[in-house]
């Protein structure tokens, strides 16, 4: 499946493949720490840029409370980075 931005597609596919393997071979067996962190960071960097360019970040931030998401808003990113 293509990403919303073609530049991110190979990164997304690499992450998806890693995730599916980790999920079925390790996570379900109780080994919960992910193998795919580095690939995820690369995919995310590309995706976040695409979301900003498409003007989607505010729409996503506004929708989070309705679905009980635990993740920080894009507009709070600076605060999250300070805490790390």
């Amino acid at each position: 499946m293509e990403s919303i931005d073609a530049k991110c597609t190979p990164l997304k596919r690499e992450y998806d493949e890693c995730f599916n393997k980790w999920y079925s071979e390790k996570f379900l067996d109780g080994k919960e720490s992910s193998d795919c962190t580095a690939l995820f960071k690369t995919y995310q960097k590309c995706l976040r840029q695409a979301l900003k360019e498409k003007g989607l970040t505010k729409m996503i931030d506004d929708a989070r409370p309705a679905i009980g998401s635990v993740f920080a808003n894009y507009n709070d990113d600076n605060k999250v980075e300070d805490n790390e």
Partner: protein, 185 residues
């Protein structure tokens, strides 16, 4: 407002069905789902729960009335899910973002082992669909159209998941076959 509830039993174990959830798209049954992006994903270090946030983009043919009022046929949905591998639960909540001032569609889905047969998986789905009063005399008609579409999509969604489960089982079969042949030599 429309309320929707459905249950279904997949005759496969929970681990396989939960994996199929992650590999569901693309599939032939649901061409309207165009993009699925992982926005956030982590494992809670205390509970071991996998938490995921996804952005889903949908585009499909809609009646002219809907296209005119909504101004398009493309919508974005936000989904949050939690997988607890110890309790064997997958819970998902989603909400449309696009056109949310005109129409709200919220969906809640669970996958758990079937209490009547632990080798099967029980799927439950509930959804609420409400058109805004701002649509005035079109509100009822829009709800009807979107409601029918939601039910159609729910049906093909289940077919799509079954197809993905079959694919996963075929892959497993292919991986074990060389061993079986060696054993019989």
């Amino acid at each position: 407002m429309r309320l929707f509830e459905a249950t279904h039993v997949f005759k496969h174990d929970w681990e396989t069905v939960s994996l199929a959830n992650w590999r569901k798209y693309p599939n032939e049954q649901t061409p309207h789902v165009r993009h699925v992006e992982i926005l956030n994903q982590d494992v809670d270090p205390v509970t071991g729960v996998l938490r995921t946030e996804r952005l889903i983009m949908v585009r499909q043919n809609v009646p002219m009335l809907v296209r005119k009022i909504f101004g398009g046929d493309t919508s974005y949905v936000l989904e949050y899910s939690e997988v607890d591998p110890r309790k064997q639960t997958l819970v998902m909540q989603s909400q449309n973002m696009t056109y949310s001032n005109l129409l709200s569609v919220g969906e809640y889905i669970t996958y758990t082992p079937d209490p009547e047969n632990s080798k099967h998986t029980l799927f439950t789905q509930s959804a609420q669909l409400k058109a805004s009063g701002a649509l005035c005399r079109f509100a009822n008609k829009i709800e009807d159209i979107c409601w029918n579409r939601f039910q159609d999509n729910a049906h093909i969604g289940k077919l799509g998941l079954e197809q993905v489960v079959s694919k996963i089982l075929a892959e497993r079969q292919a991986m074990t076959m060389p061993l079986a042949q060696t054993a019989s030599d």
